[in-house]
Symmetry: C2
Subunit: 292 residues, 2 copies
């Protein structure tokens, strides 16, 4: 398990996220609310002007009040809007509740199971990030399970319409959740028209993680659709992917996505709309080469 | 004129670009090739691992070997591909030659006029950034003019199919080139089916610059089409715009853009393709509100 990397900050109070050894992004901390080690990782909460409250695990930026919608909306809605009527979802990780909140916007959604290995993450979310989970962590449709995601997926008999991998980057406790074995276990827990969605890496800073991640997904799923979004807190352009045996979200037209947003009464979207849905699948030439 | 802001770097050798007062991006300098003041601005060239050679003016990141294509391809081709047959272009700024290189890829292009106020920028490009201009600065179709862009546009009788504003951010010597007076002067120098293209600002860090920039453009042009791209060296999501009295690049389909790339034999595109062309115009909800 990596040590607390907070001391790699460029200067005291300058929270630093490296994209590679020599570049990255930084945010000044105006106040440190929390800094402790859970049984799994170092946990920090800071107040910042550009991002509001900001959450770090093992020194890495996880989410923030002001930019969480870039990540959570794009992680969830591309697959969920393409699904004809999602009723059940599994989130692996995502203890901040942001993905749960997006999934619970769907009127057809009956049950969201959130499997988070670290209770400290959920406690921190309840205490500091009400603007991210917005009550999702107390929603009666949410089943919280504090355990290892790999163990849960292998042991469960349940199946799901959507699986959302809302994980820390590989290298920490989530490392086993980036392999094709785990992806196959997830594929086995999806309903026939179901889909898994996950973030992959930066196509600029992490080309090898993209190649390997997409290859691992293709070893487990018949349909793997990479897509792009922009996440300020992660340093810009970021690849996500939707994986399924049947569902291809790139077949959903802009018009139909907008129609579904309306008929499903999905509210409070700061990023996602029908145009954005379609645009997500447009890959620049250098990204096409990475996923070819 | 602002002083050299290089000393605002977070630490010695940590080149820092602020998006706002409290956040931004950084790149470690492996070697400083140049650092001097021209008559207009401070000029620096560094070697960096993530970006290759990197160019700063007044302490701000301008361009780099490895990510210049994000900026120059998206700045030029969205408008140029939509134009039926561009024969003449004016670049205001752009002394690095990157925009000229993209414009000179068009087989119909007969003349590109590059008006750069600072000879030092052109000298630096010739000395260090051959991989950006790739010979464009010596192309017989290029007319170099070292003078003030505002004065040039007001004085010239020429008209152009494309005008590219390839400027430093407002605040430095380019400040007068962000107002509606200058935009009207540009509009008067465009041929009837011509278009002007420019970068605007970060929709995340600079919402007011977006609002004001789009309003200034709308005061001068009948058709103003904002679009988005991702520029690593500027910190991620970035707004550009195409302004014209008649040409709307969002009407160009993905298929037709790809057909034109092929028939015009546009080579060496690392980013731009037909899908990317269409996707550029998809604005997230929070950006739609900014430009409404």
């Amino acid at each position: 398990m990596p040590e607390d990397t907070g001391n790699h900050d460029l200067a005291p109070g300058v929270l630093t996220e490296y994209l590679d050894e020599d570049s990255g992004i930084f945010v000044r901390s105006a106040h440190q609310f929390e800094r402790f080690r859970s049984p799994y990782q170092s946990v920090e909460v800071h107040d910042t002007r550009p991002f509001g409250k900001l959450f770090r695990l093992d020194g890495h930026f996880m989410t923030s009040e002001k930019d969480e919608f870039f990540y959570h909306e794009n992680l969830v809605h591309v697959a969920a809007m393409a699904h004809p009527a999602p009723e059940s979802a599994l989130i692996v990780g995502g203890g901040d509740g942001g993905s749960a909140e997006e999934l619970l916007k769907y009127p057809t959604m009956k049950s969201v199971t959130l499997v988070e290995i670290d209770l400290a993450v959920i406690d921190i979310a309840r205490k500091y990030f009400a603007d991210i989970h917005r009550g999702a962590l107390s929603d009666p449709r949410l089943k919280l399970s504090v355990e290892d995601g790999l163990g849960f997926v292998r042991a469960t008999n349940e199946s799901f319409d959507l699986i959302v991998l809302d994980l820390t980057d590989p290298g920490g406790p989530s490392e086993p959740l980036y392999g094709s074995d785990f992806y196959r276990a997830c594929a086995a827990r999806l309903n026939p028209s179901g889909a898994m969605t996950l973030h992959v890496a930066s196509p600029i800073a992490h080309p090898e993680r993209i190649r390997k991640g997409i290859a691992n997904l293709r070893a487990a799923f018949a349909v793997v659709v990479p897509y792009l979004t922009s996440i300020p807190l992660y340093g810009g352009l970021w690849m996500m992917a939707c994986a399924s045996s049947t569902l291809n979200p790139s077949y959903l037209t802009s018009l139909e996505a907008d129609r579904r947003i309306a008929t499903r009464r999905i509210r409070d979207l700061q990023y996602y709309n029908g145009d954005v849905h379609r645009a997500s699948f447009a890959l620049p030439n250098f990204v096409r080469e990475l996923v070819a």
